[in-house]
Amino acid sequence: MKKRDAGAAEPGGGARRRGQGELEAQVLAAVRAAGGPVTAGGVRERLGGDLAYTTVITILTRLHAKGAVARERAGRSFEWTAVADEAGLAALRMRRLLDGEGDRQAVLARFVTTLPASDERLLRELLARAEEPAEESAGEEGEEG
């Protein structure tokens, strides 16, 4: 079992690549269910014990790298606490993807693309025109200025 720190580490045992995301979510759910600091062994028990201990450690380390769990040294091992919930974990993972890929725009057609400064000015003018006739804009915040 190779030990690497970051999220690139493979889970040991028979866990397939496809299930990685779900595995992370399951482990996070187990840590959350513990309700407080819990050891890797405790997490493994909560998962029903069908994951190898090293796998649990690997996944916990990866969750830690992503900022979804916190850990504290307790004697010779760590105790783990959940920081994010499942949706938070998904958001963290998505953020890594969006920040990391240079030309992800090619694949994920985002609602809007980044604006250069000149476009921003033009856009504000256009928006002012769009807001002119007072349609239900009473309760909405104005972002100009």
Partner: protein, 313 residues
């Protein structure tokens, strides 16, 4: 044949005016489909031409596994500068394969990682992620059995009013329903196959967004609301990068989309009548591209015929 064999490589240049015209005068739906098809045809022709040139020019090189007769003198007479062209075609073809492969791999890996990021969440059509950073996009279905999903951050939702949120969802749903991701992938591969086709890729990307904007406007019942949603979302996500040459800068895609929505809707008919100036220009342009594509196909076929005639297969 003469220099005409090289035509398919350069003819994609003719697609530029068509892209401009289609962008301005066609309904975005028609423009997206037309430009994607044109890009695909021109890319296939140009790749075929490159492959044939390579065969002809290099079959007689020592150590080449191809039959020597493939570059029979008669064949080579049909191709001017056969030696240079043939040798240049090898790296060009290899580069093409590498770039296209990279596009495909990147495409798959981003999709997979996005799907994996959402693993563990309930399988709802819309995934709302607790992230202050504003973003929203349509994640196309990875497998045939699954549906596409809309991914949107809380940060994005917080910046939009109720009507604008509806516009955002309608926009993304239009992307998913129209399988715009496939059209975009085709346009990307085409641009990777022949760099002259890059403007077409940009045009397809833009018209696909416009297409979704128009669908959203119909769904929401107000073009103004969609315009406002786009504008606000863009201003919110704007880490305002300095423009390169502000004085000469052409307005980017976002302001153009907003301006288009504030303007009267595009005619519902796919094609302007041939009687008008615009109609005539468009027809002319399309005929031009068709001729380009046909002559591409023609020279590829001719080259193939010459090869076949001289090769005892």
């Amino acid at each position: 044949m003469g220099v005409f064999v090289f035509l398919p490589l350069v003819l994609p240049l003719t697609a530029w005016p068509v892209a401009r015209l289609a962008e301005h005068h066609l309904h975005p739906r028609a423009a997206t489909r037309l430009l994607t098809a044109v890009a695909a045809v021109l890319a296939v022709c140009s790749t075929l031409c490159l492959a044939l040139l390579m065969v002809v020019g290099t079959a007689q090189l020592p150590g080449n596994p191809l039959p020597d007769t493939w570059s029979d003198p008669e064949v080579r007479a049909a191709v001017p500068y056969d030696g240079i062209a043939g040798r240049a075609a090898i790296p060009a073809l290899l580069a093409l394969l590498a770039v296209c492969g990279r596009v495909l791999l990147r495409h798959r890996s981003v999709r997979r990682r996005a799907a994996r990021a959402l693993a563990g969440l309930p399988d709802t059509p819309v995934a709302v992620l607790p992230d202050p950073e504003p973003y929203a996009y349509a994640l196309p279905a990875a497998a045939r059995r699954s549906r596409g999903r809309i991914v949107v951050s809380r940060g994005m939702l917080a910046r939009l009013g109720p009507a604008e949120r509806r516009a955002l969802f309608a926009h993304e749903r239009a992307h998913l329903a129209g399988r715009h991701d496939r059209l975009l992938l085709v346009a990307h591969l085409a641009a990777a196959a022949n760099p002259f086709l890059r403007p077409l890729r940009t045009a397809v990307t833009y018209s696909a967004e416009r297409w979704a904007d128009e669908e959203a406007a119909v769904r929401v019942g107000s073009r103004r609301v969609v315009a406002r949603a786009i504008g606000r979302a863009a201003l919110a996500s704007g880490g305002a990068r300095p423009a390169v040459l502000p004085a000469f800068a052409v307005a980017g895609p976002v302001p153009r989309r907003v301006a288009a929505l504030l303007a009267p809707p595009p005619p519902p008919r796919a094609w302007p009548p041939a009687g008008t100036a615009v109609g005539l220009a468009l027809w002319g342009a399309v005929v031009g591209v068709t001729v380009s594509a046909l002559s591409s196909a023609n020279s590829a076929l001719t080259l193939y015929a010459v090869l076949k005639a001289t090769t005892p297969l």
